[in-house]
Each structure stands twice: as structure tokens, then as C-alpha cells.
Symmetry: C2
DNA sequence: GTCAAATTTTTTGTATACAAGATGGAAATT
DNA sequence: AATTTCCATCTTGTATACAAAAAATTTGAC
């Protein structure tokens, strides 16, 4: 047999049922179908997905690890949406991780990546002009993903992506505030400028302010949380 | 302002077998009993722990999530020790997370905590004088744990603790270098001084230098890795 | 009628049974 | 002899069966 048959990270491979269920449940929780505190019944889910309890349990354990649900031994698993305090904490950590990314990237970033950042920003601009929220989110994500990558630290990149995904639904809420999009764009440009100058500290400060929840953003987040909770 | 009172590891709660197996396996991997790349056979482990495959599988999935093993679908799970590059990356992230903790703590830390830091440092000093490595590690951990807590950000605290635990065995290697302990102590004191002055940036810089792997520390880490690999 | 103890029911955790994919080697073909 | 194909075996993934712990309900005493 050929040694080159090393299946390294083929993401699209046929995954097991448990994986699919985990993804599906994650979506349902993040999208709010299962409210905070709701119990996730194993047998119900098994029936719903037309599988046995085994893959359902596996999926639930995965969600438990990633923090979306809480598993109380011999009691069951419950949806655990972060409250206002925890959300602020998570955004604060996100800000710090991104600041670290930016600081490291300032001295490591490639010209190609800088140009990619400009492209992503231009597309963001277009999306803002076209009132295309989805397009904006997509290019915004690309912008941040490039930054993580350019930190030159693969582990940091993964951690950033993990938290970014976790906060995605709340970021969406947050940006809905009128007038935030142009300001957000200006911040993006300031970040790129700092990176072009190779000024890590400036880039870190800029992105920290970009991500952190403060001032008006705080009130908007609280308002949207209230709205989502009912 | 106390955080939500959620069930954080009630000591006496009898945990399920899968949890105990996960802890046991984690220890075995970190301590090096299972080398990098080794396959963890479900039935073997089941026999070894005298349980069925079910709790073993649950434990393995947990380890897979925390990154200690890699699970290749329909192939098995394999021990995945971080290589030199990944280790450096992890230490870099640890340094940034701790720097963030320190920066935030500078404006939020309580007098009580400052005094606790002094106590931990004194005990570290004593341990160094007595050549008591274990004592040093214990008090060092306490020192850092206090810092995380004083960041005032529970999420950040948890993330720091998670990475700290993951890096524990390598930190141990690293500190074995002759002369590192006194220097490490001096760094601790500089951190406390910065915190007392409320100078977040200084504290961040100090702890970043304290945690990062650079200069001599780099060579020691590489040497100990080589030694551990054979 | 209220409260409490006991029993029933439900649900989680574990064991075992079964199915499908992967591994390795032998047989067959070139 | 080398390579390919096929088959036996082993391992993982899923289903089902069973055990134990919690929740719910009934029963009984006051």
C-alpha cells in the first residue's frame, strides 16, 4: 500500500452521525430555538434525529465541552446561554486575543496579507453601501481571519477562531445598531494603517477598541439581549 | 460583585466513571506514559480500567476536545504531544493571556489580593531556599491563579487556568534550568510592584517576559524536549 | 387538608450486541 | 517477483438492553 495515503485533515470526509447532530444542535442553540435553561432530552433528540441515544449523547458531550450546554451529572444537559456579565467577559477576552494577534502580526505580516486586508475592507465598504448585512459579516470575518493568520501563531489563530465563532450571533446583534457600520469600517482602516507602519502597539490598541463592548455598544448589546430573552 | 453562583466542582460529588478515566488518561499522557503518536485502543483501555468501552469512549472524546489526543474517524485516537513549534506558540498565547490578566488586574485588584500575592511570593522564596521544587510549583501556581482571579474576568480566568494546566508539564521542564528560579522570583516581585503602582502596562510587560520562552529558556526547552522524546 | 415516607416512573450511565469501515495478508494474475 | 484483488480479522460507530439514581406519584399518618 502507498504511504501517501495519509488522510491528513480531510474536512469534507463523511463524518459520523454524532458530528452532524452536534453541528445541528449547535445551530439550533445559537439561533435561539432552544432557549436558555431548556433541557435537552436524549430520547426526544434521538427520535427527532432518528438515531439511537448513543450518537446523541456524544453530540451533547461535545456541546458541553464547548460551553453551549451544561451537563449536570445524573440530571441532564441544559442550554446555557451566556448572561450579560459573561458576554462582556467573553468580548473582553476576544479583544485581548485580537490585540495580541495584531501586535504580533505587525512585525510578521506579509505584503500579500496587507493587500488582502485592503481587499476585504473594500468589499466591506461596498457591502455597507449596498446595505448588504450578510456580505458585510462575511468580509468582516475574512478581515479578522487574515489578522489571526498573520499573527504567525497557529495556536493563537485557532483560539481566536474558536471564540469568534462562539460570539458570532451576539456580534450580529451588536452591529445592528444604526451608524455602527461606518465607524467599524473606520476602525478597520486604522488597524491596517498601524500594521503598515509596523506599529504593533497602535494596532493592538486600535483593535482592542474595535472589539471591546463599551459606550454605546454596551447599551445596544443589553437591549438586544433583552429582546432575545423574551 | 460576585459572579453567578454556579455549580463549580462540588468536591464530594461522586462523578461518573468516564470522568475518572478521562482524568487518569490525561495524567498518563501528560506524564509521558503514552508517547506521541501512540494509539489508544478502546478495548485495551476498557480492560485496563475494568469497564466497558462506553465510558472509555466518552473519556477519549473529552481528551480529543482538549487537544491531548487526535481522533481520526474510523481509525482510532492517537496521542498528540505538541511539537517544539506548537509549544512555543502555546507559551506565546499563555504570555498574552497573562499579560491581559495583569493589565486588567492592575486597576481592579484588591488590597487583600495584593497581600496574598506577597504571601505566595514569600513562600516561593522559602521553597527556593529549601530546594523544594514541588513547593515552588505549588506556590507559583497560586501566584498565577490569584492574578487570573484579580483580572475580574471569570471567563479569562477559566481560559488562563485551562492553558496553564495544559502547559504544566513543560513549565516543569523549563524551570529545571539552573538559576532560573531566582530570576523567576525577581520577575514575580516586579509584577507585584507594577500592580501596586496600578501600572497595567508595566505589569503586562513584566509578566509577558516572565512567561514567554526566549533566550536561554528556549534552549532549555528544546533540550528537555529532546530528552523527553526518546 | 398537609406533610412525609414509600413506591412507581422516568432518565441517565454502563454493558453488551451488532453493523460497517479499515487493516493486513494470502491467493491469483501479469 | 511484483502487483492487484479478495477475503478474514480487527476496530470503530451505532443500537439495544440493563442498572442505578432522580423525579414524580401514590399512599398513609396526623
Amino acid at each position: 500500500m502507498r504511504a501517501e495515503n495519509r488522510c491528513v485533515y480531510v474536512s469534507g470526509m463523511d463524518r459520523k452521525r454524532a458530528d452532524l447532530i452536534a453541528d445541528e444542535l449547535e445551530g439550533l442553540i445559537l439561533e435561539g430555538t432552544y432557549k436558555d435553561g431548556a433541557r435537552l432530552d436524549e430520547v426526544q433528540l434521538a427520535e427527532r434525529f432518528e438515531v439511537s441515544r448513543t450518537p446523541v449523547r456524544e453530540a451533547l458531550q461535545r456541546l458541553s465541552q464547548s460551553g453551549l450546554v451544561e451537563q449536570i451529572p445524573r440530571r441532564g444537559v441544559f442550554v446555557r446561554q451566556p448572561g450579560p456579565v459573561e458576554l462582556l467577559e467573553m468580548f473582553e477576552v476576544m479583544a485581548e486575543l485580537e490585540a495580541a494577534s495584531a501586535r504580533l502580526a505587525a512585525s510578521r505580516i506579509s505584503d500579500q496579507a496587507l493587500s488582502d486586508l485592503h481587499v476585504a475592507n473594500s468589499r466591506c465598504d461596498e457591502a455597507v453601501a449596498a446595505q448588504d448585512a450578510d456580505g458585510y459579516y462575511l468580509e468582516n470575518e475574512r478581515f479578522h481571519a487574515i489578522l489571526y493568520r498573520q499573527s504567525g501563531n497557529g495556536f493563537l489563530e485557532q483560539e481566536c477562531l474558536r471564540l469568534y465563532r462562539r460570539l458570532q450571533p451576539f456580534r450580529r446583534m451588536q452591529l445592528r445598531a444604526r451608524g455602527r457600520l461606518p465607524q467599524s469600517m473606520a476602525e478597520h482602516k486604522a488597524i491596517v494603517t498601524a500594521l503598515e507602519k509596523g506599529d504593533g502597539e497602535a494596532a493592538a490598541v486600535a483593535i482592542r477598541g474595535h472589539v471591546a463592548v463599551q459606550g454605546e455598544k454596551f447599551h445596544h448589546l443589553m437591549a438586544s439581549l433583552k429582546h432575545a430573552a423574551e
